[in-house]
């Protein structure tokens, strides 16, 4: 039986000035998928497609096996969705929202909600209109987490939060995955957050998926290699080099298929080999994709 939590196949969504094209991705149970892209890359559009809030022009979107947007009401019973653009009812209190969500979702965990309230330093009697941005996001996440959803869909949830608040939230997300039947789709342009919690990473740029693989795979495949060439020597053509910066006899290569074979071919010219952070990989990957696509 196909048990993918989110399944997108050949999805296309066009707007006047933007097109999301040929999008395919799978979110497996127990997986945290980091969805990384620059502003305007199509992250929120993808998330909204995954929630059934917008309909694809072509392709197929399934959430917990339910075809969207037609069956979104059933699918959303087991989904927690938080977006940085989302707000609670301004004239109600945090406690009112807790009672409201508890009355709708049978899986509401009051004990866990109380723990989160304490951990996030929220007060149930606090009116929503008096909450700061960070408190608002925490309240939204508390309401989503305490219903114990099978899938958490988070659209830039840590955007605009201070480092301490971000740390608290990311720790909570990791806790969710202790139960490996649950999964998280997490969109962000903050690669530090994504690198910290994701096990699968998707890069998106200008409406297209640039690369998608396991985090460790990304980190293992990408390297920055510094070379010092002998005077007058010419660097041979090498495969899988996505970036090359030449400064006199010093050359910095960026590869997305690092191997000992490559090092052997470069021989004694190699001075240093650097592992790359996810942010560096993301930026290099996006520029390489744009170069290849002639954009």
């Amino acid at each position: 039986m196909d048990n993918k939590h989110i399944e997108m196949r050949g999805v296309r969504k066009s707007y006047r000035f933007f097109t999301l094209d040929d999008l395919s991705l799978d979110l497996e149970p127990g997986q945290i998928m980091g969805f990384v892209g620059p502003n305007g890359a199509g992250k929120s559009t993808t998330i909204r497609l995954a929630m059934g809030l917008i309909a694809a022009d072509a392709g197929e979107v399934r959430l917990l096996g339910h075809l969207l947007p037609e069956n979104q009401a059933i699918a959303k019973r087991d989904v927690g969705f938080v977006s940085d653009e989302m707000r609670l009812f301004a004239h109600a209190t945090v406690g009112w929202h807790m009672n409201f969500i508890a009355s709708i979702y049978p899986g509401w965990d009051a004990k866990y909600a109380a723990t989160l309230i304490k951990r996030f330093n929220l007060k149930p009697e606090q009116p929503v209109k008096g909450l700061s941005h960070g408190e608002h996001v925490k309240a939204l996440l508390m309401l989503s987490l305490a219903r114990r959803p099978r899938v958490l869909i988070l659209d830039e949830p840590t955007s605009g939060l201070d480092p301490v608040a971000r740390h608290e939230l990311l720790t909570e997300f990791m806790d969710v995955l202790r139960d490996d039947s649950r999964s998280i789709l997490f969109s962000s342009h903050n690669t530090v957050d994504v690198e910290r919690i994701s096990d699968r990473i998707v890069f998106i740029d200008r409406g297209r998926i640039v690369d998608s693989r396991d985090k460790e795979d990304f980190l293992e495949r990408w390297r920055r290699i510094q070379l010092q060439l002998a005077p007058g020597a010419i660097l041979p053509e090498l495969p899988n080099i996505v970036g090359r910066v030449v400064d006199g006899q010093f050359v910095t290569l960026t590869t997305n298929h690092f191997s000992n074979d490559l090092l052997a071919r470069l021989g004694p010219t190699v001075r240093e080999v650097h592992r790359m952070s996810l942010e560096e990989i993301f930026v290099a990957s996006v520029f390489h994709h744009r170069e290849v696509a002639g954009q």
Partner: protein, 223 residues
């Protein structure tokens, strides 16, 4: 209606409860003023009564739909297990109910005033009923337009049209031949003009409230 939609409708009631109570209070005070005896007080009272119902309708539609969208609570509602079609239905039903409470109270109040006050001719009853029916249809126009609207400018335009329409209704219906002549009769005249206008109002109400089901509820992109 499932549990979630019932809860959300109850929330509409909860959110607008003070507005509802305030409108009823202002409307009742206005009716007392209207029934105080002098033509001047009658005009002032009826104008305040009319304004209370009309303004309440606009505010409820704005707060219930446009402000919710502007304050981005719509995304929270749509994250809950309901479809956009269900959202449209619950908004229509919930906000219509929120309007009906003060509308029914103040309509009944106006009719009682006409019936009880000896110095007010009962011939005013048909016009009062038609005016109240128009206010209900006019509210449904604002409500459904707010569901259709994607910009604040459009909603502002709808409210302007709504306000102008009330004045036009009073002038146009009052000018129907054979209708105005009976306003001061000691007994109400339920003539063809009355039933025709009432039927048009009822039909308008049904058509206006049906449109969102067939158009807005079928939108595939809701955000």
């Amino acid at each position: 209606m499932n549990k979630l939609t019932s809860k959300l409708i109850a929330r509409e009631f909860h959110q607008h409860r003070w507005l509802m109570a305030g409108t009823i209070a202002v409307g009742i005070v206005s009716l007392f003023v209207a029934g105080s005896g002098t033509p001047m007080l009658f005009n002032i009272g009826m104008l305040c009564w009319l304004t209370a119902i009309a303004a309440y309708g606009c505010v409820v539609a704005m707060l219930g739909i446009a402000t919710e969208r502007k304050e981005r609570a719509l995304l929270f509602v749509l994250s809950l297990p309901l479809s956009f079609g269900e959202y449209v239905r619950l908004k229509l039903f919930g906000l219509l109910l929120c309007f009906l409470v003060p509308w029914l109270t103040l309509t009944a109040g106006a009719l009682v005033l006409v019936l009880v006050k000896a110095d007010m001719p009962d011939g005013l009853m048909p016009f009062t009923i038609l005016l109240c029916g128009f206010l209900l249809a006019n509210f449904s126009f604002v409500l459904c337009s707010a569901l259709f609207a994607k910009s604040e400018g459009f909603i502002t335009l709808v409210i302007i049209v709504h306000n102008i329409a009330i004045s036009l209704f009073i002038f146009l219906v009052g000018a129907i031949p054979g209708f105005f002549d009976h306003l001061k009769d000691p007994a109400p005249t339920w003539g063809t003009a009355f039933w025709t206008v009432l039927a048009i109002e009822a039909a308008s109400l049904v058509v206006i409230c049906s449109l969102p089901y067939f158009v807005v509820a079928r939108r595939r992109d809701v955000i």
